[in-house]
Amino acid sequence: MGLESLYQEIILDHYKRPKNKALQDKYSVEVHHNNPSCGDEITLRVQVENQIIKQLTWDGVGCSISQASSSVMSELTQGASIEKALELEVSFLELMQGKGQVEADEQELADAVAFSGVARYPARVKCALLSWMALKDALLRAGGSK
């Protein structure tokens, strides 16, 4: 179980060609999160209409894991309901905190299952979670409930 399990192709692809990484002009909520221990940062903008994420874009700096995770998160939640997006966040969090013991649900998490290997590197879990924590914060502010 080496580096390849951590840096799966999907992750490296998203890192090199991140999706939705350009902040939109029109948004209902903007949040800014950072990882004080490593300096990674993300700004997230979400346009919510009728409890649906109409558009979600982001910008940020950080390692391949945090950048790829932001990119995958932005794809997965685009067009989803707030409720659905928050469910995804819970599933992803469970996967990350599972120390490699939690089986990922491919149906639900799609590309995000590529991060399964991250769960075995405790120091990198926070990198993968940065964008999802920002998402949760933004959606709760946009009117979602826990």
């Binding site: 580096l3 490593c38 300096g39 950080g62 390692c63 391949s64 894991i65 990198r124």
Partner: protein
């Protein structure tokens, strides 16, 4: 001077013989964060607990006497190591605590003639190169007292810029708090002009020697500063013990930050007066076993020779600097030669984030530090979010430098840059 006999030295550090990921040999290059400990240090702590454990300076029994002797014996070694007097050595838990102790010595509630009186008419001078440990306590003091916080910038070489010290350090300056050696760029501070200027205007100088005392000979009399601090754990000593050295005439006047047991001259229900330094600054049962461990650590380093340790590191650093510059895409932060530089080397690699550099190196058994190294203002000035840092010590070898350089090349392969 030649390299140290690392075969012999490494036998004293069993952890260096362990394997890490995928059975790879550990290559420990995170010495600026903390050093490994030789067996003699572990044995010294264990021996203290096994045979002499009691509360130093308290109790009328034999063990208390022995514990006191061991603790005070450690203080004498610590003093000797930097050519100071025992009465000027205060044991703290860390350099971080030491700097806080000095910053809390200043107050605007003192009488105006007191050397530690500070007010909105004063300034405090730090630098852009400081570790947060030597920045935040001064920010806080500025907030409490109304004094102005000002700072020296950095040169293109990530050295402290001393071109404007005459205006920055002025007759309003109370204290100049400055690092001896950067934990990021490895820059060694050109202290003399700074100290000279501070003396001219009557300002105190505190030296953060966390990255210098473990790595080179340091004599407080030659440095001519007022306070000096470092952490034991970076000098092959235990965690939980730091050193604060201060000039006796200043320690006599400085107020304690922490009050409590065994630091008084006299106490009533309403008030108390303080014992003389160092006791005044060591309230509570002290970290005796850790102090004893630190004493043993410094004896260990002295036996090898601080000048020899410094030369050994210089050979490794020179090799690493040359090797890194041969790898395209690597950018070294600060001086690319041995001139005014110590053992910490920070660098970036084009196209790969430092965390990812560190992760791949880790896969090869190489332990480095990645991130901002608790020096955000420096990172902001350099317009970087993070760097990768390799830092060397007495037990590192030229072969390890090669493994490290090869590791960096492997990072490039892995990320196809």
């Amino acid at each position: 001077m030649p390299l140290l006999d690392t075969n012999l030295i490494r036998q004293d550090f069993p952890i260096l013989g362990r394997t890490v990921r995928n059975g790879k040999k550990l290559v420990y290059l995170d010495n600026a964060a903390t050093s490994q400990k030789p067996l003699v240090v572990l044995d010294a702590e264990r021996n203290f607990y096994l045979n002499h454990n009691a509360a130093a300076h308290r109790g009328a029994h034999l063990l208390a006497e022995e514990a006191t002797d061991a603790f005070e014996g450690a203080r004498a070694i610590v003093a000797d190591f930097i050519s100071a007097q025992s009465s000027e050595i205060i044991f703290t838990k860390s350099a971080t605590e030491s700097i806080n102790v000095v910053s809390y010595g200043f107050s605007n509630h003192l009488s105006k003639g007191d050397p530690f009186y500070i007010s909105k008419d004063n300034n405090i001078v730090v630098t852009q190169l400081e570790h947060h440990a030597n920045l935040l306590p001064w920010q806080q003091l500025a907030k409490r007292s109304g004094a102005t916080l000002s700072w020296l910038g950095i040169t293109a070489d990530a050295q402290i810029d001393i071109s404007n010290i005459d205006s920055m350090i002025n007759d309003k300056t109370k204290i100049v708090a400055i690092t001896h050696q950067s934990n990021v760029s490895g820059a060694i501070t050109q202290l003399e002009p700074i100290v000279k200027r501070a003396r001219e205007v009557g300002a105190m100088v505190l030296l953060d020697a966390c990255q210098s005392v473990p790595h080179m000979p340091v004599d407080v009399n030659k440095l001519n500063v007022d306070f000096l601090t470092y952490s034991g754990h970076k000098a092959v000593g235990p965690t939980g013990v730091g050193v604060l050295w201060g000039r006796s005439e200043l320690l006599e006047k400085m107020e304690p930050m922490i009050t409590g047991g065994s630091m008084i001259d006299h106490a009533t229900i309403e008030s108390a007066t303080w014992a003389k330094a160092p006791k005044k600054f060591e309230a509570g049962v002290p970290n005796m076993a850790q102090a004893v461990g630190l004493g043993t650590a410094l004896k260990y380093l002295t036996k090898i020779g601080m000048d020899k340790i410094q030369s050994h590191e210089e050979i490794l650093v020179a090799k690493a600097l040359t090797g890194l510059q041969d790898i395209s895409g690597v950018e070294i932060i600060g001086s690319k030669s041995l001139l005014n530089r110590g053992s910490a080397i920070s660098f970036t690699l084009e196209g790969v984030h430092p965390h990812d550099v560190g992760q791949v190196l880790d896969d090869y058994g190489i332990a480095v530090r990645t991130g901002h190294h608790c020096a955000w203002p420096l990172m902001q000035e350099l317009k970087l979010n993070a760097t990768t840092r390799a830092s060397f010590y007495l037990y590192n070898t030229p072969e390890e430098v090669d493994i490290f350089l090869n590791g960096v090349r492997e990072v490039k392969k892995f990320f196809k840059v």
